[in-house]
Symmetry: C2
């Protein structure tokens, strides 16, 4: 059998070396050098041109190298084979770190101090301890739950918002659309780590911002399409929200003409929350292939209906 790999993480030689150590007999084809399309039984992919996966007649399994399945699932010609997630099921310490630094920046008023620095002004703002700061995490999945736990471990008063009710130690949980207003109303800093699905697209909109307390901030580490950018700028310009940090955008790189770049209350980072290492993914990809070959149940399956 042959594996097709498409990845923008790491050098091809590094991937080959790691696969050779784990599964020496595996025939690894690295996109775009596919060879005979009929050989491909497993595709481990970040993204591929739409419809491309359909061209492999013997495809048995797709391995998603990204945590979010939204790009894969947006392919209308996606073959009807199992899709499993290769990422570490315990999340990613770099994502937790990214959330921590941006929550801390807003918690410690660094954007406001930076603005004051531009005016050569020595200002005084309230200094809250972490336990006095209410942080809300949207999405408590593979990525979001470890982030919420890391923020709680730092000392923040953390609540989470999820699709269906569940319990997590130390994290107050709000569930479903009906509890979203209460979640937002108690969250001074909201971190978005939801999967992008038809239900969550545009969830951070004017209505959501209005429900947040005045002076609040948002940190978007999910997908760009979760945020209605025009609504965000209105909420910032009205001084209802104090700041926003955006790491993800509907189109990346963010186009030069986007007004987000020049908004003084928006911090833009160029989709850099995580570094995905081949050394972490290869053992998981090989594990999925072995389970598939042995006919064992596949773990970390993506549910096409839910969208994640």
């Amino acid at each position: 059998m042959a594996l097709l790999l498409t990845s923008f993480f790491g050098a091809p030689a590094e991937w080959r070396k790691l696969f050779a150590a784990q599964m020496p007999d595996l025939d690894v084809r690295i996109w775009p050098e596919v060879g005979n399309e009929a050989d491909i039984e497993v595709a481990a992919v970040t993204t591929l041109p739409r419809g491309k996966l359909r061209s492999f007649p013997n495809l048995k399994m797709i391995v998603s190298l990204l945590a979010g399945a939204d790009v894969l699932l947006s392919d209308p010609d996606l073959p009807d084979v199992p899709i499993v997630r290769a990422g570490n099921p315990d999340g990613d310490e770099m994502m937790s770190e990214a959330a921590l630094v941006h929550v801390l920046r807003h918690h410690r008023h660094l954007p406001a101090y930076w603005a004051a620095q531009q005016r050569c002004e020595w200002i005084s703002l309230p200094r809250l301890r972490a336990r006095e700061r209410k942080v809300g995490v949207m999405g408590l999945g593979v990525i979001g739950l470890p982030v919420a736990k890391a923020l709680a471990a730092h000392g923040f008063a953390v609540a989470g918002w999820v699709r269906s009710p569940r319990r997590h130690d130390g994290i107050e949980t709000f569930a479903g659309r009906e509890q979203l207003p209460a979640f937002l109303a108690r969250s001074e800093i909201v971190v978005n780590l939801l999967p992008l699905t038809p239900e969550t697209r545009g969830i951070l909109n004017a209505g959501a911002f209005a429900q947040m307390p005045r002076g609040g901030a948002i940190v978007n580490l999910g997908r760009g399409a979760h945020v209605v950018e025009a609504d965000l700028m209105v909420a910032l310009d009205a001084d209802h929200l104090a700041g926003a940090t955006l790491d993800v955008f509907p189109v990346e790189p963010l186009p030069k003409e986007s007004p987000l770049w020049r908004h003084s209350k928006i911090t833009i980072t160029p989709h850099v929350a995580r570094r995905i290492d081949a050394s972490e993914l290869v053992p998981n990809i090989c594990g999925a292939i072995r389970a598939f070959q042995a006919g064992r149940p596949l773990e970390h399956l993506i549910d096409r209906k839910r969208g994640y």
Copy 2:
């Protein structure tokens, strides 16, 4: 006996209430309402005009409300009575948090991304994991040691620099002037938390910056006079250092005409690393008074010769 209190932390009524709960008979005088100077036996102070402490003929003990003794010890007329430190001997979680957010900002290249944002430019910089980042903490005292431990707990490769050799679990320690170059050479991000003494004044100078690796950053949370500002700007302008965060300055508020305000690679925060709470200090002040009254040995004494 009467206690003279001078503090810019918290409202006088809050201090009075806390003292009333702990030591109802204590006669608390809040600066500048001293009353009869001969009544004052203990002075719990942040700062007082130079020579003022000398005017209390029956002064028996000074309690420093600041972690650094430099301002007190710079008074040439300082009475020859014991000086004890009121701060929590386990450090301050807010100081550890301040160090963490600024180290993370430099670790995650946020100043460089901010500069790129001003040019509407989507850039790519190396994404290192915390364990791949070498952080150096100068000063492992009451304040510095908890900071070093917090940074190590986050995952950074932390080393400390101290005056005299000692060992701390998980923190590689360099001691004395002769090991300073090696400490600086291995530290990509240097956090300064030294006490200000004649020996440490100006310690972060051109020589020190030259010993640091190219692309390094400094975070000054100690005292402004530790840094030779002109040397820092030269090191930044030469692209030897990538950035600096300064929370403390020789004169505060930082004067409008200071070139630091306008330096694009310097982040200025207006001395906001910690919030000192009366509720944390009052029990320690009362504890020192009780020990003094009972003739028990005083804890957390400041050594005038060492300067901290």
